[in-house]
Each structure stands twice: as structure tokens, then as C-alpha cells.
């Protein structure tokens, strides 16, 4: 649909109804970066891609089986993605045809040419009048009704979700009109659409929750005992600030909206210096702005957590598309030899626990810790088993199951700091000054060669502690094989499913997924030595002459000839099918 007409809302209701039926979903919202781009233009496309299954799904899947388009332009745009099943059902609203004959003709011809059959339909006359009266609103509910019929959904389950979504927000008569439109859409599909998917309700076992990545992260921040969130609005990180602005105060936490990205991290650093755990969140452009303060925090040995919800770069890039290209910026970003730990999240459960690990590491080591999420993980709703809450008050409260999830052991008890005293303000007799200038063990400014070298050694030894604590990363398939595909962050699901498909086809390929991306575990070279080829799967650009970020890092750290296998800068989540196709090419 055109942005601004409720496609996202209808998608939310649909997936919630699926979930209520006991189904599992994986969702990719298609959102323009603008609020209201011109209607009936390709940039206006707003929609939701939903993968539906009876089992837990970990990625967006392969090809689309059903497309419902409100007019020919958004259909044309969606077909541009070239990810439809040859037997894909296309439902096209012909309502705009009268005034756009040629355009409809062109798109319909394209469908024929690509072997796709289109099921044309038109909103019934009575509903058209209602929609017109409501200024174009309500069409989303009409389409929702059609989909509810096509997916064989209980009409009342969907109706309940509509009331849950709009009940408190819409005037009663408007809500009534929307529900009527929903029923009319259902009726239209019943009369005019001659296929139906057989989706049965299945009972669910155990306590499950439906949650998206950024909400999960926000609640994880609270559960990890962090007390201040300091941020500046930026897509796609902002919704963490929205959730916390609403929920944090009830748990004793503060949300500070700063005047800019630099101020946001400065205030978080000030809070942590005062002994109160704090986090800042941002995305690419904001990350660039924060780099000086991040370097300062490591030199001054003030803990700090930086959440980077990655979007497509470089520069302003594509704010509502996913990518994993900030890895070099977080590993090498600030100036001088600079130490840091980088955690990534593979899914919404990781989002809940990443703040716990980040807090543990930053307070134990007093180095900056990054959490790398991305647009896809941040915005994807998932049904998950309700995670156990940890209710951390102290970094040592971190449960073993969180450490295990990220494949890391507990750190040694005594970790040397550059400054022997790390007293926080208010500690009698502990008065100390911190500075970004080189400091000696007593915290005094010092420009001597030996002192400076010691500072570097001590800071780097902190990271070596992490290297030694890291256990073997998660692997899929045999421990020795022709090909090993390696990924990090949100590509985990696609890698896992690709290996599953590939092993069924007898392809000699295994997979590896990294949750802690920097530093890397020490046994990596040895693990790699059991494979003839090691390649990476990344949502970041790379080619034959320029390794993609993870490939670059793995090459540098292991001296193994790691090549990028998937390094397409499409801004879209990776599909397992494409991974398998590429594996076949590598095996040739």
C-alpha cells in the first residue's frame, strides 16, 4: 500500500492473529524512510513480509507465495525484488485502473511475461463509499479481511485483535466502520477468490511471548539493572527510547533525550562515572559522532554501553533497510590504539540478554562494550519462549546461561586497570581525577614512554582476558568439511536453515555463527583448519578485491584465506535458498 494508509497496522493485526492461532512468524517490515512519500509511486511502498510456519522460524525464508497489492505501482515495486515463487498468487486491487489504464496494462504484461497469474479484484461499491468518507482510511482493514479468509482464519480471532489494537484509540462508530470493512473484505474474498491456504489452529505449549527486537532489548536493559538511557532520535534505534520512555520510570530508570548524539553518550559516561549504569543507543551516523567519546571512555576507564542498531550505510544510506556494515567502525572507529568488546544479536532472545553481558563486561573491564543489532532484528516480531529474567543489580549477578548463550566463560576475578584506584565520587579519601591524557598507575597525567606503553599493555590485556574466556562459537553441521560458512548477528537463522537444506542435499558444508564479534576466540584458526574453504555470509558489501568486513577481520586474525561468499549490499535479510545456491557455486 501507499505509506500512511495503515499497511503496517494491518500487518501487525494479521501476525498477532496468526500467533493467537498457535503459529510462528518471521516478519520483515517494508517501510519508507519518509513519513508520506507521494502516493502511487514506488518509494511509497509500505508493507509487511510475513513468513508463517507451524514451527519456530529463524529467518525470512525464500520466496513469496502470496502478494496483495493496493495498486499496480506497489506491485511493480515488489516484483523488482525478484523473490516470488513461480506459483505465487498475486491479488491486485483494480480500483485505480480507470485512471491509469496504460500503467496497469504495463504491469499486468510484466506479470504475464514472468509467468505470474494475477487475480484482479475491486473493493465493493458500498465499502468504497465508506473508505472515501474516512479519507482513504480503512482500506487496510478491508485487505485484512481478504487475507483472513484466504488464510482460513477464524473471523472472530482476527476481530478480537482488531479491537485489541484500535479499541482504545478509535471512536466507537469509527471502529465499527473499520470492522464492517474487515467483514466486507472477508466476504469479497469468499465470493471472488478461488483459493485458500489450509491453516489450522494449533494449541501452544509453555509460556510464549510475542515481541520485536528493540522491545526485547529495552526490557533487557531494565532487567540488566541499567538505570539511565541517554539517546538522540535516530532510525532504527529510536523505538528503544520510546519503549523505555514509557516503561523505564516504573523500574527506577531514567530516559534522557539529549541535544545531539555526542551529548547522549557524554551524559551516559557521566552517569557511569558516578557509579550508575548507563547505556546510549544509536545507528550509523550517530555512531560516527560518538567515536571520540568512546575512545575517551576506554582511556579514562569509564564503563559505557553503546547499542548500535545498524542500518544501511554509508552516510545516511537507507535508514529503514538492514545491513551489517558498521563492524569496521566499531572495531577500528576511534583514533589511536583503542580497546573494545563487540557483542552481536542473532535474534530477539539475544536482544533481551545482550544488555546483561554488555554490563558485565564493561564494568569488569572498564572498556566500551558495543551491542550490534540491525534494522531486521530490531523490527522483527517473533514468538519465543518467555526468557527467564535475571534481575541483575550487580555485574556478578550475571547468570551462567547468559554467558553460555554468548559462548563466553566468566572473566578472572582480578583484572588489572591502568589506574590502581577506580573509586567513584563520594568515596572518602578516594579522590581521583580522570583524563583522556595518558595516565600513570596513580591516575596522574604522564607523557613518559614507559608509562604510555604500560597503559596500552594493561588495556589490551583486558581484551586478551575476553579472548581467553571465549569458547568455541556455535557451529552447524560437521566439524570437518569442504566448506565452512561463517556469519555473525542476524544472519544466524539463514545460515542454520541453509545448512539444514544443504545437508539434506548432501552438500559438504558446515556453518558457524559468532555472537561476540570482537575479540575473536583463540581457537578459530584451528577450527578453520578442518575445512578446505572458509567463506562468509554477510549483509555488507565485499567483492573479490575487497573483503567484506567479517572476511577482512577473520583473514587478519587467522591468516586463513577467508573469502566473502555473500556480501550483497541489498539492504534485505539473507534468504537460506540463496545461501545454498552460493554454496553450490563455491563447491564447483
Amino acid at each position: 500500500m501507499d505509506a500512511g494508509f495503515g499497511a503496517q497496522k494491518a500487518g501487525d493485526i494479521l501476525l498477532q492473529a496468526f500467533v493467537a492461532m498457535g503459529k510462528y512468524v518471521y516478519v520483515e517490515p517494508m517501510i519508507p524512510a519518509e513519513i508520506s512519500p507521494p502516493a502511487r509511486s514506488k518509494p511509497a511502498l509500505s508493507g509487511v513480509i510475513i513468513r508463517l510456519a507451524d514451527f519456530d522460524v529463524t529467518n525470512i525464508g525464500n520466496d513469496t507465495d502470496l502478494i496483495l497489492a493496493s495498486h499496480e505501482i506497489v506491485l511493480d515495486r515488489r516484483l523488482d525484488d525478484l523473490e516470488y515463487n513461480p506459483k505465487c498468487h498475486i491479488l491486485l486491487d483494480m480500483g485505480d485502473r480507470e485512471n491509469n489504464m496504460d500503467s496497469y496494462e504495463t504491469v499486468l504484461k510484466r506479470c504475464t511475461k514472468e509467468g505470474l497469474s494475477v487475480i484482479p479484484f475491486e473493493v465493493d461499491a458500498v465499502s468504497k463509499v465508506t473508505i472515501k468518507e474516512m479519507g482513504g482510511k480503512g482500506q487496510n482493514l478491508y485487505y485484512l479481511g481478504m487475507l483472513a479468509y484466504i488464510y482460513n482464519m477464524d473471523e472472530d480471532i482476527v476481530k478480537k485483535e482488531i479491537i485489541k489494537t484500535f479499541g482504545k484509540k478509535l471512536r466507537e462508530d469509527i471502529l465499527e466502520k473499520n470492522i464492517t470493512l474487515y467483514h466486507n473484505g472477508y466476504q469479497l474474498a469468499k465470493e471472488k477468490v478461488f483459493f485458500r491456504f489450509q491453516v489450522e489452529s494449533t494449541p501452544r505449549e509453555g509460556e510464549k511471548i510475542l515481541i520485536d527486537g528493540n522491545t526485547s532489548m529495552s526490557l533487557g536493559i531494565i532487567d540488566a539493572g541499567i538505570k539511565l538511557f541517554s539517546g538522540y532520535p535516530i532510525t532504527p534505534a529510536s523505538s528503544v527510547m520510546h519503549t523505555l520512555a514509557k516503561d523505564f520510570p516504573a523500574y527506577g530508570g531514567m530516559v534522557h533525550q539529549a541535544e545531539d548524539e555526542i551529548a547522549a553518550i557524554g551524559t551516559a559516561i557521566g552517569s557511569y562515572y558516578g557509579g550508575v549504569p548507563a547505556i546510549t543507543a544509536t545507528s550509523g551516523p550517530g555512531l560516527s559522532l560518538k567515536q571520540e567519546f568512546i575512545g575517551y571512555a576506554q582511556a579514562a576507564e569509564i564503563p559505557i554501553i553503546v547499542l548500535d542498531v545498524q542500518r544501511s550505510g554509508p552516510s545516511t544510506g537507507m535508514p529503514t533497510k538492514t545491513e551489517q556494515s558498521d563492524l569496521p567502525a566499531v572495531i577500528f572507529g576511534s583514533h589511536g590504539d583503542y580497546t573494545k568488546v563487540v557483542i552481536s544479536v542473532a535474534n530477539v532472545i539475544d536482544c533481551f540478554y545482550a544488555p546483561h553481558l554488555a554490563r558485565y563486561l564493561t564494568e569488569k573491564l572498564r572498556v566500551p562494550v558495543f551491542i550490534l543489532s540491525d534494522f531486521q532484528t530490531a523490527n522483527s516480531y517473533k514468538v519465543i519462549t518467555k526468557p527467564k529474567v535475571a534481575q541483575m543489580d550487580d555485574p556478578d549477578d550475571i547468570p551462567d546461561y547468559v554467558l553460555e548463550r554468548f559462548h563466553i566463560n566468566r572473566l578472572p576475578k582480578d583484572i588489572e586497570m591502568v589506574r590502581l584506584s577506580q573509586a567513584i565520587p563520594g568515596t572518602e579519601g578516594g579522590m581521583r581525577r580522570i583524563t583522556g591524557l595518558n595516565s600513570d598507575a596513580q591516575g596522574r597525567i604522564n607523557y613518559f614512554s614507559t608509562t604510555n606503553h604500560r597503559g596500552h599493555q594493561v588495556r589490551n590485556e583486558k581484551i586478551h582476558h575476553v579472548r581467553r574466556a571465549l569458547t568455541r562459537p556455535e557451529m552447524f553441521g560437521a566439524e570437518s568439511n569442504e566448506v565452512l560458512i561463517v556469519g555473525w548477528g542476524s544472519t544466524r537463522g539463514a545460515i542454520e536453515e541453509a545448512i539444514h537444506i544443504a545437508s539434506k542435499q548432501g552438500l559438504p558444508v558446515s556453518g558457524m555463527h559468532l555472537r561476540v564479534v570482537y575479540p575473536l576466540p583463540l581457537m578459530l584458526k584451528e577450527v578453520f583448519s578442518k575445512f578446505k574453504k572458509v567463506v562468509t555470509v554477510e549483509v555488507a558489501y565485499g567483492d573479490k578485491l575487497k573483503p567484506s568486513p567479517l572476511a577482512l577481520l577473520l583473514r587478519a586474525e587467522t591468516l586463513v584465506d577467508v573469502q566473502p561468499m555473500m556480501s550483497d549490499a541489498t539492504g534485505r535479510p539473507i534468504r537460506p535458498k540463496v545461501v545454498v545456491e552460493r554454496v553450490k557455486e563455491v563447491l564447483k
Binding site: 493467537a20 501452544r204 509460556e207 510464549k208 511471548i209 510475542l210 515481541i211 526490557l219 531494565i222 532487567d223 538505570k227 539511565l228 541517554s230 520510570p249 516504573a250 523500574y251 527506577g252 530508570g253 531514567m254 534522557h256 539529549a258 541535544e259 555526542i262 551529548a263 547522549a264 553518550i265 557524554g266 551524559t267 551516559a268 559516561i269 557521566g270 552517569s271 557511569y272 562515572y273 558516578g274 557509579g275 550508575v276 548507563a278 571520540e292 567519546f293 575517551y296 579514562a300 514468538v383 518467555k386 526468557p387 529474567v389 534481575q391 565520587p425 563520594g426 568515596t427 579519601g429 578516594g430 579522590m431 581521583r432 581525577r433 580522570i434 583522556g436 591524557l437 596522574r444 597525567i445
Partner: protein, 304 residues
């Protein structure tokens, strides 16, 4: 004001507050400024363990290193942001922010706007020597027009920014001005600033004998006046009878503007509003007033 002070049986002395010998040039105005603050800390018996000095970069940035208190020598232009973090998380601390003219009015100008607007509780000291000194003699936002520097050797091109009208224009709740070489007035200004419930903007004319020795004539006093009022700051005891003293009610912001924008330099309290809302208090109240929830049930609203 709930200042954190020391117990009566263990008074803090100037000596207790010293660390190493400051690495500033001989005759630098910064010596006078930190001595003024130390004199005030002793007078008020502020507890060093509950005092934090936060600074940016430049000659003034070094100040926290010369106070035996807690201190954050942060990065260029950003001390206000770090100080806010402390004001939000640790309202129990005595908070002093030290910034130079480059820090406050150039690289960190944005933070000054928002620090003033947020009106969080701190004493903000603007060390204004009207030059970039630590980087060796470049034009700053307050360098006077035609004064030659290493970056504008033909003479500084533009008229300087007036920090006091800027602060008044931004709606600062406390705007005072003093100078490094009038210790009595300097300490009185610290006192008024510390007792102010909010962001106390203190402009300090500061000598830089190394790069601009003729900027302030600290031997005569006829070129400046003192603002005086029962609710203001007492004129310097040594100089009050040697120059003009003007009666000015600090609640009258428009009159304050007039003195701030004048050709002549005025030292004293231009404006004070004790009732301006404080962002740090507002945020703490949001937390305080929120009905408390049980962390163990945090995921329950998301149950299917």
C-alpha cells in the same frame, strides 16, 4: 541547598585541595580562578570526596587535575554533557564545570544552549581569555576584532560573540561576570553561583599573558564597573571605591541585557531567576512519581 560539607573536626584547608603545581604559564589567569574556587570551598567546607570538577580541553581543561577532589577532564567542548550525567545520577555531589571560550562557545556551543535551557544544578565557569592558547594563539569566538592571531594574522575578522548576552538570550537562570584578578569578587561570585538552584553561568575574564598580554589592564579599574544589589554580588572590597558601582536588580532581565550589551564591561550579577524549572529535578520526579512495577514480571505484558 544540601551541600556536602566536611565534619567540623576535620576542616578542609587550601593545602588539602592542592595536587601538583599547575602546568600553566606564569601569570596565567587560571591560577586566580582555581584559587578563588578553592577559597570558596574552604569557606563553605565543601567535602572534597563529594565534589566533582568537570572540564573540557584547553588550558582551562586542566583545572580538575589541580583540585584534590573527584574530577573528569573530558573532551573538547563536552563537559556540560558529562556534568549532566552526574547531575542526573548523583544529585548528592557538588558539581563545578570548567570550560574555556573555545569549549563553551565554539566546539561545544550546542551543549551550552541546552545546558542553560535544562537548568540542571551546577556551577558553570567560563574561563574567557579570548584566545585559543593551548593550541598556540588562534582566533577564538571571543577574540576582539582586528587582534592578530596565527590563524588570522591580518587581524581577527569578526566581532566577538558576547557570552553574557548569549546566556541571557538563552534564558539562563543565573548570569554573572567576574575576573581572575579580583579575588574577593571572584569568591563572592562563586558563593552566589553555588547557592543558586540551577545552572549558574559565571563568565570570568581571564588573562593570557603569554599570547595576549595587553588584553586586560588588570592594574587599573576605571574601564569596568560593578553591578550591585541586595540580591546580587558585593562589589570587590579592594576596588569598590576606585570605580563605578551601579545598582542593578538581578530580577530585571531587560536591564541586565542593557549592561551586558554595553561597550563598557560590567562585573556582577546580571540576572537571576530562582524559580526556573530544573530538568534534573523533573527527570527524577518522573521516576519518583511512576507507580513501581515488579521486575520479575517485566515480560508478562507480552505473553500470548
Amino acid at each position: 541547598m544540601n551541600a556536602q560539607t566536611t565534619p567540623a573536626n576535620a576542616p578542609v584547608t587550601i593545602k588539602d585541595l592542592n595536587t601538583e603545581n599547575p602546568r600553566w604559564c606564569a601569570g596565567c589567569g587560571d591560577f586566580g580562578i582555581i584559587m578563588g574556587l578553592k577559597r570558596f570551598m574552604v569557606e563553605r567546607q565543601l567535602a572534597p570526596a563529594h565534589t566533582v570538577n568537570v572540564s573540557g580541553i584547553g588550558c582551562s581543561g586542566r583545572a580538575p587535575n589541580y583540585f584534590n577532589t573527584y574530577g573528569v577532564h573530558s573532551i573538547h567542548g563536552r563537559p556540560i554533557t558529562v556534568a549532566l550525567g552526574l547531575a542526573l545520577s548523583r544529585p548528592d555531589l557538588n558539581l563545578f564545570v570548567h570550560a574555556g571560550d573555545g569549549d563553551a562557545l565554539s566546539i561545544g556551543g550546542n551543549h551550552l544552549i541546552h545546558g542553560i535551557n535544562k537548568n540542571f544544578k551546577c556551577v558553570f565557569l567560563l574561563y574567557d581569555n579570548e584566545i585559543y592558547a593551548l593550541t598556540k594563539n588562534q582566533t577564538s569566538p571571543t577574540t576582539r576584532k582586528t587582534h592578530p592571531t596565527n590563524t588570522q594574522p591580518q587581524g581577527t575578522f569578526l566581532n566577538p560573540i558576547n557570552p553574557i548576552t548569549v546566556a541571557l538570550g538563552l534564558g539562563a537562570s543565573f548570569v554573572a561576570s567576574t575576573a581572575d584578578w579580583i579575588p574577593d569578587h571572584l569568591t563572592s561570585t562563586m558563593r552566589a553561583a553555588f547557592d543558586h538552584p540551577g545552572f549558574a553561568f559565571v563568565h570570568i575574564s581571564q588573562r593570557c599573558p603569554h599570547f595576549d598580554p595587553n588584553n586586560f589592564d588588570h592594574k587599573t579599574s576605571t574601564w569596568f564597573s560593578f553591578l550591585k544589589h541586595a540580591n546580587g554580588i558585593e562589589p570587590d572590597r579592594r576596588l569598590a571605591d576606585k570605580t563605578e558601582v551601579v545598582e542593578h536588580d538581578p530580577s530585571d532581565m531587560i536591564a541586565g541585557f542593557k549592561y551586558a550589551a554595553a561597550e563598557r564591561r560590567y562585573f556582577g550579577l546580571f540576572h537571576q531567576d530562582k524559580n526556573k524549572p530544573r530538568y534534573d529535578e523533573i527527570l527524577r520526579n518522573v521516576v519518583k512519581n511512576a507507580p513501581k512495577k515488579d521486575r520479575s514480571k517485566i515480560l508478562d505484558p507480552y505473553l500470548i
